[in-house]
Symmetry: C2
Subunit: 245 residues, 2 copies
Amino acid sequence: MSLNPASTRHVEPTPACVERSGLTQGGLQQLVVPDQAYSERLLALANGRRTVRRGAPLYRSGDRLSQLYVVDSGLFKTCLLHEDGRSQVTGFHLSGDWLGLDGIVSDSHHSDAVALEDAQVCTIDYNELEALLHEFPDLRRQFQRILSREIVRSTEMMQLLGGMCAEKRVATFLLDLTQRLRERGGPETSLVLPMTREEIGSCLGLKLETVSRMFSKLRKAGVLDVTQRHVQLVDVAALQQIAHG
Amino acid sequence: MSLNPASTRHVEPTPACVERSGLTQGGLQQLVVPDQAYSERLLALANGRRTVRRGAPLYRSGDRLSQLYVVDSGLFKTCLLHEDGRSQVTGFHLSGDWLGLDGIVSDSHHSDAVALEDAQVCTIDYNELEALLHEFPDLRRQFQRILSREIVRSTEMMQLLGGMCAEKRVATFLLDLTQRLRERGGPETSLVLPMTREEIGSCLGLKLETVSRMFSKLRKAGVLDVTQRHVQLVDVAALQQIAHG
DNA sequence: CGTGCCCTTGATGTGTTTCAAACTGGGTGG
DNA sequence: CCACCCAGTTTGAAACACATCAAGGGCACG
């Protein structure tokens, strides 16, 4: 199962113009297919950069949507506010992931996006993107795929929340996150979690204590090494067995 | 909270050509805005009809996606298959709702869509729709809104599954469903559920017995009248209080 | 008029939450 | 440099919500 927008994308060789622009780590690979006429134009459009400090919001629910964002570096969470004031994490977003797509329907952002570590995004003016979509049918199709992929990701998350026990949720979460990091050239089996247990739990529909207990359980089973935020996958096969079995 | 694609849409007066085409019950109002140049063209494109018998699939996961669908009459469920063979309902879809959007990313359907009562859909060739999107920027923007709305619906469902107790889930489900029926000109407070307790539970991340118990609890509290599949909302304010409070 | 599916209800079991306490590590200021 | 502080984490015990198991009942359909 995939819980993120990027994990099912086709891996394309990175075009030279992307290399030059510094977008290699993530960036626009989802849209920029080599040898397409629109590549240069799209990169020009996505030239804007914005730096977001740890803990700071990229946007808030209700903000008018004029820009979409692609994560360049760093990690974001998106949150929805419950009526009673509690906040629930709806996803974690790595480099290459798009942010703001849920705001298109109402021209205003539907969730909060907050950086969990110092981060950078490239900004894409939605109206200018629209103009480019008009010119290039391939690009348009690609953008619709990105929107559709986000729907798929959400339904898979619904599947996790509606039908899995805590241990499966945590195992799936770890496999998903490490796979996404791997796709981005990160280490194979070790990671440092930029989010708290509470944020993980909020995303998985669990309390922080339950997340902690599941980590301990997986550690005692010899599947993981966990010390605070450092996680090392010791037995990936066993973890997959737990997640999928 | 809204759990469906249509509940947040703008209510537009129905254009005459739509009336003529028999699309009044649902149909394409989401795309067809009055006095737009593309209206006639779009309706011509959406001229195909398909009848689906109760219990029959409109499409199955893995089927190649060449058509999108808009529910014309009847009610559908969409399901995802777990690795262990269990099937989980990811949504119920009334007239006017689009089906197949989650398949755009991979050109193949990502879920099963099954009619819960005899139903009719209009079929929309995705390639032909693409061509129309190319011609009409307004239509394109509208279609992107529909995709975005589906993302919003999914995140709201994640919020329900991740953060609400059983009673809130059932109350929210009933309010959402009756509101959607009302938007389609149905009765204000009474409904006949075309789906089983098990299907409701599957969608809400609950077991069928729990759904039944919550119905009974709400009945004893004087909020509902429930006999089998017939539900009458007795105290809507109280139901909202339970769902949102 | 029976048969099967669906629904309801009760008794019991279990996984997760809640509450509480102790521990850890990084950062700050004396 | 060390002591302190504090947010985050771990762990245990008890409570609770939901699941599971089991039995009975209603309705539709052949």
